[in-house]
Amino acid sequence: MTQRVLIAEDERNIVESLRFVLSREGYEVSHALDGAEALALVRRETPDALVLDLMLPKLSGYDVLKELRADEMTRALPILMLTAKGQSHDRQAAEDLGVDAFMTKPFANSDVVAQVARLLGNDAG
Amino acid sequence: MWWRRWRGCWAMMRDERPRRARDLALILPFIGMAALMPPLVGLFVGSTIAGVPLILAYLFGLWLALILAALMVAWRLKGPD
């Protein structure tokens, strides 16, 4: 069965590149342009993994993360967090909130693919 | 249980298959070359088998054998990659 990945990112170009790279890996990709939409989509579409930008309009990546982790339904959703800040305290905060993987922009496409694969347990085979 | 041991043995053989296929892939051209070398190939000149010149049967037979071996090797090695 095709695994579905939701991208929550407000930069359309980054969305497009991620969509291209992940689609090529065989994932079904959808996206949200702000935090509120991301939250709504996660609840409606129940994706298998979430690629979450930290700086989102309306609802920040932290807030989305907090909401998701507080909800019984989405507590276990694998989340890869992207940030353009990359300072270590950001990373720490995200890890404390229970993010599964953390990457700093700009990233290598292969790293994103590898991380998503790891989150979805596809890396072994 | 005897069958369990037998199955383990078989699994081990199966795990070894890609390695053996790789070895075969490496030596295949050398086997072919050796079989085409003068002293050996010269042995088949002159006689016939069932009306067909033996040298023809030998060369084309060898050729076909190499192709089949390559087919097998390719089939084996393609799987795990």
Partner: protein, 899 residues
Amino acid sequence: MDIRQLALLAAIGFAGLLFLIAFLCDREGRPRWLTSPIVYTLSISIYCTSWTFYGAVGSAARNGLEYLTIYLGPTLVFVGFWALLRKILRIAKRDSITSIADFISSRYGKSDSVAAVVTVLALLAAAPYIALQIKAIAGSFQVLGSAPEDLTGVAAASPDPVVAFWITAGLALFTILFGTRTIDINERHFGVVAAIAVEALVKLVALVAVGALAIWGVADGPADLFARMEASAVPLDAPFGMRWVGLILLSGAAIICLPRQFQVAIVENEREGHLFTAAWLFPLYLLVMSLFVLPIAVMGLDVLPSGSNPDMFVLTMPIAAGRTDIALLAFLGGFSSGTSMVIVSCIALSTMISNHLVMPLALRAPGMRLQGGGDVRRFLLLSRRFSICFILLLGFVYLRTGATGEGLASIGLIAFAGATQVLPALLGALYWEGANRRGAVVGLAAGGIVWAYTLFLPNILSGVAWWDAVAMAGPFGLDWLRPGALFGLETGDALMHALFWSLAFNALGLVVGSLSRLPTPIERVQAALFVGVFREGADEGTLRGGDASADQLFDLAQRVMGADRAYDIFRNYARARGQVTEFPLVDDAFIGHLERRMAASVGAASARAMILSVTGSETISLDELVQIADETARLMTYTTEITKKSDEIERAATQLKAANERLRSLDRQKDEFLSQVSHELRTPMTSIRSFTEILSGTPDLAPDEREHFIEIIHAESIRLTGLLDEILDMSVVESGDMERALEPVNPEIALGQAIDACLGLLRTGDVRLEVARVEGAVTVEGNLARLSQVFINILSNAIKYNTSPAPVITIESRVEGAEYVVVIGDNGAGVPAGEAQSIFEKFSRGRSAGAHTGAGLGLSISHAIVTRSGGTLRLLPSAGGARFEVRLPMLASEAEPLA
């Protein structure tokens, strides 16, 4: 209509069909069937040229089973694909190799000279081979027109020069139309591959049809055939001696070294997996072709009048048997084999000529200036078209001067021997790390010269008086230098003699040349990358040596990835394993982990080389590593210039480079400012990096997709540059070092410019604009461009951050006493009370602004500009929305409107 006219029509129709196939395949963006391994295998079958189609029968009739060697050699190479072809393919795909010259030169340090030598050699070797195709097509055409009883004399010697000329011209046109319509970044031609796959089928079907006719139509089934074979003049007991072995080796080498074979098997290859099919299917194709050659030779000798040219049995036998239909099919088969060889050879050679001879010269020529990518592209296309004409002309000239009275097969073998001179350099490239550029050049040159002297020149010049004197007595009377018996080696077999000496000198040159100096760092790296292409990850379990300390490894890692990231990797690894120290215990698992992380930045092979340099298993010093990094950077620039000719990419790359340069110079300052701006820079950089990786890592992108991605890179580069401009502006304005002096200006003009500039933004957001402007002219002291920058900034903020469902922007300008006042307001969310104080500080874009573009430097810059003009910029207290006020002192004498 006589058969010759019919054949001409059929040939033209067939060519049209092929062109249609190629055109459709290129346009449709590669239909599915085109990527099948069967098409790949069929395209490799261009190995079977007219030489096979017509010449193999001639060869069988003259020399018995010797013709089999030409197909047994490639068979051995393909069934042994695992060791050699797969390695070449893996490297070629990794490095986006465009030709065999490119492959060899990139192994020997991306050397121009190596590439040029290979190209010249390939060009010389191609001439006889192409002459052979022209001769075969011309000959077949002449045979078709002859009555069965006249068949003996026709086409035994040189073909009619007029027919040959028109065939050459037709081939040139055909090839130019086929091969140079576009320039693909990876030098791949999907349409051509589809067309030659069809041609491969046609020639197979045609030869099998003629063979079947020989067995069941002319002879009385297989039993009768073998009976006649016993009695026939076909020598089945041909000596299986040195020549037999030599020819197998020669043809085995040719299947890799011929530029056109490299083109179809390596450059045009879609997927490594296709090789796994070709490994057995291509030998099978050769077997079927060879199987039907012998019956045609036997029956041709048996039933056709003695003195008939055996090279034309494939055509003359059906004619003699009264089967015009099969004769026509055979003609098309021969036409297919000839044209497909010529097309692919010319494409491969013209690529080599334009990339390795013309371009390097053009780039160096002082008078030559190629501006931008479009020029380069046009120039390349033109040089390729000229190259194709030149190559075919060379073939035609060879046909007219060379000793082409010989059989087709012997001409082909001269070409094989020439192409094979590349073999030592190729094998050295793949299996001997010590081989270097000097060795390659010396070996190639020595082998090439000996080949030309002992085989190529004798073939062209025989009959010319002075040459015959040299051939008889040796140059300057030196008997031991006679081209036919070098150093007194009399073999009676010119081919084996030439092959022996040329390869001996070639290999010797490679070894001695390579050992005569140490490899440069770049050669060493390329050697490791080529020879050890399968090494990465293959020996995961082996010991990497525990000599390295964590400090050393950290030092290396932070050079590659930056200190922060390296530190993270080290600390997280240690923490994940419950180690309390800052740096983890250095063991194989950690080194493997680190290598993989580094590989993401610098590529697997380089990462490994670097790790090895620290762990002590390899001896590359740190100095050398730095040198390597520099050279690699230079190489990458070079590669971008030469091979990625697409002008869009070039443009994007230049912009990226410029942006990078500025980024680097700023990076050196390393102040607080930059660490804050980093976030803003990373966003466009992310897109640029990601799409660049997609472009370079996805060879099969559709053209429109590629263009779209390049546009994004372009736009993001501009955004990045704009950002950097903003930052520079900031520092320029702040240090008071403005380029332009203050002068009396009318600020209304600046305001008007700003409104015009923002109209574009307005249209997209459906914003209503309410403007109330001052009457007449006012004059303040300032700078027009700077002032309009201030207004644009405030206006665009008002538009961009307006979250109201019905956005309204008000612009009001008036004169208040001695001051000119502009108030720009909106009905958006306004600025939160807490932020009103800090809004003019650097990078305080306001949290409520969310993730809109721009670094948030604009207001700060505006503030500085207005202050410099002696005015004020402030945020007015307001009930809803933000209201900015600009106040500028007017010049006293001109406060009144001008008459």
